[in-house]
């Protein structure tokens, strides 16, 4: 009985220390960046930045085609959208909840699925001079990447780009 009591106390202390950590997070200081590189001619490189400026929450979208050919020029985008604070905080929270162990698959090399669809993603959170960056690609269909792709999806939905057409079903939002 005493062992159960000790275990219960330990559990309570772990939960309360985790809550203390959460309380300190000021999402307003965060700047989230999503960078997607594909092998496609249109929307070859996409950069989305989410940040707060003078209490306004912004999404900055920059897209570049593979070259300046007139056929791909429609995918040359440089624009800014205003978003809701709640949406911004939701994405920041999703980022803080990511787990490092889930991200690394620790598989045998032979089990890795390598395809030629060529999507490389980078998710980065910066706070002043410090940053944490997750880079992944190729085996994008892996189940373990779901929380990371969920964040990409949330961000892509804010940009009003047809992400299903351009980046496959895993990052679709329409």
């Amino acid at each position: 009985m005493q062992v159960i009591r000790i275990l219960f106390l330990l559990l309570v202390s772990i939960i309360s220390s985790a809550q203390n950590n959460c309380e300190n997070i000021q999402y307003d200081l965060m700047r989230i960046n999503l960078s997607i590189k594909t092998l496609k001619n249109t929307y070859n490189t996409i950069n989305v930045d989410l940040y707060q400026q003078n209490s306004i929450y912004l999404v900055e979208l920059k897209s570049r085609p593979i070259n300046n050919d007139a056929r791909w020029i429609k995918s040359k985008i440089d624009t800014v959208y205003v978003i809701n604070k709640n949406v911004f905080n939701k994405i920041c929270k999703m980022f803080t909840d990511l787990s490092l162990e889930q991200f690394l698959n620790m598989k045998e090399l032979k089990d890795l699925k390598i395809t030629n669809d060529g999507i490389a993603c980078e998710l980065k959170v910066s706070i002043l001079q410090n940053s944490i960056k997750y880079s992944f690609g190729w085996d994008i269909d892996e189940k373990r990447l779901e929380p990371f792709l969920d964040i990409c999806k949330e961000i892509m939905c804010l940009t009003k780009l047809n992400s299903k057409k351009n980046f496959g079903k895993r990052i679709k939002c329409y």
């Binding site: 062992v3 159960i4 275990l7 985790a18 950590n21 959460c22 300190n24 997070i25 000021q26 200081l29 965060m30 980022f95 803080t96 909840d97 990511l98 787990s99 490092l100 162990e101 991200f103 690394l104 698959n105 620790m106 598989k107 045998e108 090399l109 890795l112 390598i114 959170v125 706070i127 002043l128 001079q129 410090n130 940053s131 944490i132 960056k133 997750y134 880079s135 992944f136 690609g137 190729w138 085996d139």
Partner: protein, 172 residues
């Protein structure tokens, strides 16, 4: 009594899983940049090349003097040390214990950030084929506890000790 048995079984499974964990695909990189002339840019890489042989590569670059380009030629030869699997696994386990939540909450404590003329920028990477996590931390040696960087600095110190480098040069 039944609950105690289940707890003991869970504990046993947890201990076993950590004992037999495989980290062979991991590569761990630590890059430190300072304003010092001698140890301006130093990079440590921990990786496995052959089965059961683990290496620690060290690359030191001096500060570039643009008036005298030969400074680049005066850099030390790259060094590779063979390390034990135990040491590699210990660092890998510690690295996987880094918590996003705790580090981000530490980053937000703006009162504890120090910017001075003796800056140290640390870039710590954990990578495996097609995935990589990078932590870029500025002056981790200042207000380490308050910024929740205890584990982070501990890993850096352990890598520097393995590389037979004096960690006090970078982390006081």
């Amino acid at each position: 009594m039944k609950l105690l048995k289940i707890l003991l079984l869970l504990l046993f499974v947890f201990v076993c899983s950590s004992c037999f964990a495989q980290y062979e695909l991991l590569q761990i990189n630590l890059e430190i940049q300072t304003l010092k002339e001698e140890n301006n840019h130093i990079r440590f890489s921990l990786y496995q090349e052959h089965p059961d042989t683990f290496f620690l590569g060290i690359k030191r670059n001096p500060a570039l003097n643009f008036k005298d380009y030969t400074t680049w030629l005066k850099r030390d030869a790259d060094t590779i040390i063979i390390i034990s699997k135990d040491n590699f696994n210990k660092i890998a386990e510690l690295s996987l214990r880094l918590s996003n939540l705790s580090i981000i909450s530490g980053m937000c404590k703006t009162d504890y950030i120090l910017i001075n003329n003796d800056n140290v920028a640390v870039n710590f990477e954990i990578s495996e084929p097609y995935s990589k996590i990078s932590y870029n931390i500025w002056n981790p040696n200042y207000n380490t506890k308050e910024r929740n960087l205890d584990t982070f600095v501990d890993i850096c110190k352990k890598i520097l000790l393995l590389a037979e480098s004096d960690y006090k040069i970078f982390f006081r």
